[in-house]
Structure formats: C-alpha cells, structure tokens
Amino acid sequence: MQTLNVLVVDDSNVNRLVVSRLIQALGHQVVTAEDGAQALACCETMLPDLILMDVIMPHMDGLEATRRIRERFNKRWIPIIFLTGKIEQEDMLAGLEAGGDDYLTKPVDIKLLTAKIRVMSRIADMQQRISQDAQRLEAYYLSNEMEQQLAEHVLHNLYGDRSQTGIEQWILPAVQFSGDIITAARSPTDTLHIMLADSTGHGLSAAIACLPAATVFYAMTQKGFSINAIAREINKKLKQHLPVGRFVAATLAAINPQEKTVTVWNGGIPFAAFINEQGRIEKQFQSSNPPLGILRNMDFDASVEVYRWSEPGRLMICSDGLTEAKGAQGDMLSLERLCSMLASPYTLPAIAPLREQVIAHLAGHENADDISLVLAPCAASIGPAGPATQNAMFTQLSNWELRLDFGPKELREELGMATLLGWLNQIGLSEAQLSDMLLIVTELFNNALDHGVLALDSSEKHSSAGFTSYLMKRAGKLFGLEHGWIQVAMSHVTGEDFPILKLCIHDSGQGFDAAPFLHSELEDAAPHGRGIALVNRLCRSVRYRENGRRVEVEYVLR
C-alpha cells in the first residue's frame, strides 16, 4: 500500500499521540490538528489523503469542520473517518450527514483502523482515476469540437459555391459530416460538370476521403479537361492517398448545351438518369466501373456514356443512401415515383417535393447512410455566365512556336486533347481567350481526328438514331487505329495592335471541301457544319489548304 498523508484532528493530546503512533506504525505520514479550525488551515496548506476527525472539539467541532472541508474542496474527494467515543446511532447519522464517510469508536482498534484505511485508500484511488478520466474526456471533447468546427469551415468553403451552375441539390448526412459530396462547375467551354461522390462510411473520415476528389474536380474543370480525364486523375489521387478498403463511388457528368449531350462516367453510383419534362426516365446511366480509388490507373477504364436529348429535361443523380432508404415497414423508395414528380418545365425548381417525399418515406427514422440528390437542368443554355475574372498576366515570350505530332498510339490513347489542354493552360491566356481557344482547338482537332484520320461521316452524327451508332463506330475505329497522324503547331507573333495566336492542324486523312462551311452563316448552317462556322466567327482568319487536310487559323489576343 502506498504511503498516505493522514490528518489526525483531536483536542486531546493523548488521543492525538496514540492515534498518530498507530498510523505511523502502519507506514503513513501524520499531520495533527487540535480543532476544526486548525484542521481547515492544514487542508489549505496541504490536502491530506485521509482525515481522522474527532467529533466534539472546542472552537469548531468535527461536524462543522467536515461540512466546511467538503464545501471548500469540492473538486476532490477526501475520505473522512470520524473518531468518537459515542456509538449512538443519532450521532453516527449526523456525522455521515455532515459529509463523513465512516466511523471508528474510541479506543481505536488497530485491526479495524488498518482495514478502514485500506478501504478508504482504495476508494480514493478510484475517485482520483475517475476525476482524471473526466478531465481528459472534457479536454478531448473540447479539442474535438474545435477540430470539427475547423473541418466544417474548410469543407463548407470547398463545396460551398454553386452559383451560376443552375443545379439543385440536397444532402442529408447520417452524422455531422457527410461522406457524400456534390460538386459543380462550368468549364471554360461552357460545359457544366457535376460530380456526386459517396465515400466509404460516413462522418469526418469519409468527408476527408472526398477532399482530393473535389480539388481535382475543380482544378481540372477550370482548365478545360473532360470528365473522363478528371475521373482518371481522381482515381490516381485516391489510389495514392487512401488506404486499401477506402474508396469513393462517384458519378461525373458533363452537360453540353451546344451539343445537347449528357456525358456520364459512373463508378458505383446506383442511380443517374436523364428525366424528361413528362417525368419519365429517358436514359439511365448504369454503373459500369468500380468506385474511384480501387483500381491501379493502368487498369482504369475511363470510357463514358453519351446521351443526346431532343427535348430539354433534367439529369438526376442520387447516392445509395437514398435508393436504400428504408421506410417504416422496411420498404424502399420507388424511384419511378420520385422521377414522375419531375414532370415540370426544366426551368422550375423541383427538388423540394422530392425532398419531402424522401423525408415522409423515412417517417421520422434517422437515415442510416448519407443521402444526396442532385438535379441539373439539361437545355440549350446553362444560364448567365459570371463576370469573367482576368488572369494575372505574367512575363512571357512574345514570339514562340511549338509543334506536336500525334501518331496512332497517342491518338488511340486519346492523349491529343489532354496534351493540348495542358498547353493552352500554360501560355498565359485570359479566361475569355482560353474559352475561345479551347473551343477552336477542340473543334478543329476533333474534326481532324474523326473526319480526317478516322474518316467518319459527320452527317450521320446528327440524326437522333445515328448518334449512338456513330459513337460506337468511332470507338471501334479508334481502338483499331494502326496508321495516321495529326500535327498541331501553334505560334505566338506580334500583330499590329494585338498579339496573334496562330494555330495549324494537319491530318493524314483524305481531306474535304471546306468552302461551303466557311461561307455559311452560323444560324443557317447544317448541323454538322456549325463547328467550322463557329471557329470562323471567333478567328480573324480561317484557311483550309491541301484539299482540307490542313487548316490554319489566326486568333487575335485582344
């Protein structure tokens, strides 16, 4: 047993001496006091581990002293044993009432005293441990609160800004933090990118796992990368950063108002579909990939599904928290029913009734998993663009020329546009210039690839039935590509008033007669000539050479 500091309080010298001896014989330290007032003063100097207290004393009796000690030192429990000659039950009760813990009658029996000291010491140890644990718990609770507040702030800022995207969204976390996130941003070419991501588990750890996905999504969207490139990059990041067994199911979608297409990459999200204004599912995008962060990048399949709408509608995506939400009878939600509630013009807000339906379905039960739902209008325009922010200009060369050659391997692996995007993002263009150039490069490069190298007939692309077969033919031809090349050259020269960016794209195809497209107006051009007409409008000059195999354009950097 450890050595205790014992305070012996008695007005009788003899008693003090006898009891002190006994306690010292047991191996403990002794401090003595002659009355209650002195006992209190002793406690002020040093708190004892145990007090043996006489009841009847001058100045302040044992009962009063005990009451005061309890009041004064309420943070820590000190065992107090009354020593008294009386064994009346009334007195015993009064002592316990005043805050005493036990009784010993005088003359003190050494065996009984030893046993009682041991018991008190044991209880004191326990009490001490509990109060230390409580303090640690409180400190942990406070620091946890602070960390959660910080995390909430960071996450909110990261996912907060949905302005100018026109989407409606709803997230119902199962605990404080959602492991589901929804991100949306416009690309420089006015395509709307949306991601709904659902990471393993819920709470803060799940929310953290989504962070790399969100940052990559925003950075790459801003630079004009397509969703398959973004999905591939997120997969790589998550595979690098997350431990095995943690992953993020996600759907990435791109809504292109000019082309009237929805492009979707779905890895592990149960429901993503195009719903028309009659509230019917026109096209459902099945999950065709494992969630992000599982596969090595070399095994990763970034192929996407493309759907072209003829009449406007909405894209709806939701996580398994919603598709698996159990009602009062353990029943599931009917997704057809939810979709039928979207029978309204795409311009009208529509998410509120869906939310109410889901909450009614849960019937007061807490959702077991994070629920997230996003609705995005699919129509000819995303909505007004925000004010363009001017990029900080940096010192750069005023005259330079670059050339890139893409062979069959590069074209098969679709490295062309990705490389060009990297380029365009590094030559110091303003946001508006980047947007124009992306459009020009995308249009001309895709023309060179699809109609030059792959010799696909563009008229087929624009019938509603032909679009799917066109895409399949394209994928097939690209997969088996053995010959062919595309050369891209870009140069920056000083112009009269403004610098000029010259772009030349040359392909190995058969060429075509570009004249009709160049001279048609954008408004009355045939659907498959719109691209060239658009480029023509953005550029100072557009020239086709070598029977259409080579195109040269000049863009003024004003």
């Binding site: 990471s199 199911a249 494992p290 599982i294």
Partner: protein, 102 residues
Amino acid sequence: MSVTFHLREQEATIQIHGHFNFSQHGAFRDACKAVLAHPHIKSLEINLMEVDHLDSSALGMLLVLRDQVADHHIQRLLISNTKPVVRQIFAIAKFDKFFEID
C-alpha cells in the same frame, strides 16, 4: 457469433451472418487473421448465404482481405451464395471485375 470460420485441409470458409457492415469489422478481421495464420490454406471462401445486406465498409473489408490473400499466396478467393440484394450491390460497385462471385 456473427462471423464464423471453418478449416478443412487446404480450404477455409468464412461465414458472415446478418448485416455485413462496420459493426462486423472486428469479428471479420479476427476470422481473417485466424484463417490466414494457417500456412497450408490454398483457397478461401467467403460464404454470404446468411447475409441480407452489406454496405460500402463491407466492400472495403473485402478489398483489404483481397490484398492479404495475395500476400499469403492463397490461390483462390471466392465469394459464394450471394442473395439477389447483395449481388446487386456487388454489380453496382463492379466488384465482379476483381472478385470471383458465385
């Protein structure tokens, strides 16, 4: 017991009961550890006959197990007796791409 296992010569079976989710994490990990401790095991079957539902943390546990199995040179990892609901979840996550699911 929510997770049980049997060993028979070179084959091992781990059986899970009820909802396969994070609450089974400890039991599942212990069962895997016990099975993997036997060096002569050549094939491991995860029997989901009694599993009504599983969530993403269960998928995560299976991914972890898949890595461990590879480290221990076990030749075959089979997920067996999946109910339609469970099979649907595997299908959405495309786990059939890298698990043998029966």
